[in-house]
Amino acid sequence: MDEGTHATDRKLVRVGVADVAVSGNGAALATSGLGSCVAIALYDTSGTGVGGLLHAMLPAAPDQPENAAKYVDTGLDQLVEQLAAAGGNTNELTAKFAGGSSMLNIGTGGGIGAKNVSATEAGLADRDIDVTGSDTGGGSGRSIRFHPNTGEFVVERVDNQTLTL
């Protein structure tokens, strides 16, 4: 299983596809090239400054997945575990997320983007985690920069369109 990335004294940590990272020292977390995948940020609102970012590709994992972060359900579990390990209060988590677009305009696919969004909403509700911002669907790609110490979640699209959640 991928153990994910732990930010130490870094200013910016990249999160790849099917990857998860946590930060507790002010380092921002970033992921780019988000299409039908979802980027889910969780952060502790009790003042520890601990937060994390998951870039998940598919809604639900098979039994014993090789990489938990590839899936929304097991990726959320992994992210919460890593937040706890980093000193975050997992009873005080808040979520923001983005992605789940439908980019392949060729009449194909089973709507994976929409399924990822549904899985994210269900997974967060199951864990009693409040969602305070989201930017999902549509037909364009996104890049994300998340600041765990403030909860600022910045979504960039092509042509420098920026949305801050």
Partner: protein, 385 residues
């Protein structure tokens, strides 16, 4: 000869881990954050090996032997070499880059040694001569050979380095050879034939671009990337592209994408449309139509070689982050397979035009196709648009 796909997959993931260890080493030595931007297992035609990694000035080679034989090459462009040496302080450039290569190669091959349950020894690093190919001097490749490539980047900067590992063909194939006829495997010769078909398709695409636009195309590089599906987006850099996506239905089923950089797309639209056309929808149509012809040039070659029909969807135009398009394809593929086969071709022109074509056949259909294709096929006899 057949390759055991499970062994190849494990090698690919070991390469991922090795690249991550090499990035950690570079980070520790320079004190800067380094991440793995891309890592791939490539199956490359022999003729393309001479074109890979030869253009940059700082290239250090380290041979390795033992459980696996071959050569690792670390490549810096000039600006990245300066950035790295600045991070290291006042040191003698060549010697320090060689030391970096030494540490990074050790980090990288240790993972393979662990996987193989043996040891791998490395030689002292050596600066490579201008134009010297990345393939070791004692290695030769008949048709296609394996190449592990990782691109490392100093996070938040445009600087980085590429790390290539070319295992000696005999040494590598002795590890990934499939002895069990019932094991999940693919034929190396048949894979090579498919890559030759891809290369011929790329040539056809180049000819079509020239015919339609009058722009001469002069470089084509074609190979197969074998990557975990989650690594599919890293086949491309993180820039914005204009192009078209297609779904094809055979077997094999799959997806195909045609990417132009923005300048290239402008050049093509200008060449295809009456002078002064600014109507964005017409420019989109022009790019989509060229994408259509490009997709047909690729897929028809496969269909004809397999003596079958492969239908292609209408083009889905995009102007977006290339990796976001590939992210969506990765998710589609990921619903049914762990690894992706990416037939990847680059076509460049004498003017500012760069075209990248990537075909993503689904695994089951590709395996069937590899069973059906004639390993001794003369691809020049295959008719295509």
């Amino acid at each position: 000869m057949r390759v055991d796909l499970h062994a190849l997959g494990t090698f690919s993931r070991t390469g991922n881990a090795g690249a991550s260890h090499a990035a950690d080493s570079l980070s520790a030595l320079t004190g800067e954050e380094v991440h793995v931007d891309a890592t791939q297992t490539n199956f490359v035609p022999a003729s393309n090996f001479d074109d890979i990694g030869t253009s940059d000035p700082h290239r250090i080679a380290i041979a390795f032997s033992g459980g696996l034989d071959g050569r690792a090459v670390l490549v810096f462009d000039e600006a990245s070499a300066h950035h790295t040496l600045d991070a290291l302080g006042d040191v003698e450039a060549t010697a320090y880059l060689q030391e970096l290569a030494n540490v990074m190669t050790s980090s990288y091959v240790d993972g393979f040694a662990d996987y193989l349950g043996t040891t791998i020894d490395i030689t002292p690093p050596a600066q490579m001569a201008d134009g010297e190919p990345i393939l070791g001097p004692d290695d030769s490749i008949d048709e296609c050979g394996f190449l592990f490539e990782s691109d490392l980047q100093f996070t938040g900067t445009p600087y980085g380095c590429s790390f290539y590992m070319t295992p000696s063909p005999d040494s590598f194939l002795s590890i990934v050879r499939s002895e069990d006829p019932d094991a999940e495997g693919v034929g190396v010769d048949e894979l090579a034939t498919f890559i030759q078909l891809t290369a011929a398709g790329a040539d056809t695409v180049g000819e079509n671009i020239t015919q339609l636009t009058g722009i001469e195309t002069d470089i084509t590089i074609s190979y197969l990337d074998f990557v975990p599906v989650e690594n599919v987006p890293t086949v491309l850099d993180d820039g914005q592209y204009i192009g078209a996506a297609f779904e094809f239905t055979g077997p094999p089923d799959g997806f195909l994408t045609v990417f132009f950089d923005e300048a290239g797309a402008d050049t093509i639209a200008d060449a295809l449309l009456p002078e002064g056309t600014t109507d964005e929808s017409m420019r989109e149509s022009a790019i989509s139509e060229l994408g259509n012809i490009t997709a047909s040039g690729f897929i028809d070659g496969w269909a004809n070689a397999l003596d079958t029909t492969i239908d292609i969807s209408t083009p889905g135009y995009f102007r977006d982050l290339g990796r976001a398009v590939l992210d969506s394809i990765a998710a589609e593929l990921g619903t049914s397979q762990e690894f992706a086969y990416v037939f990847d071709a680059t076509i460049e022109g004498e003017t500012d035009i760069g075209c990248r074509v990537c075909a993503f056949p689904e695994e089951g259909g590709l395996k069937t196709a590899l069973t059906d294709v004639d390993a001794d096929l003369d691809v020049s006899t295959i008719e295509r648009l």
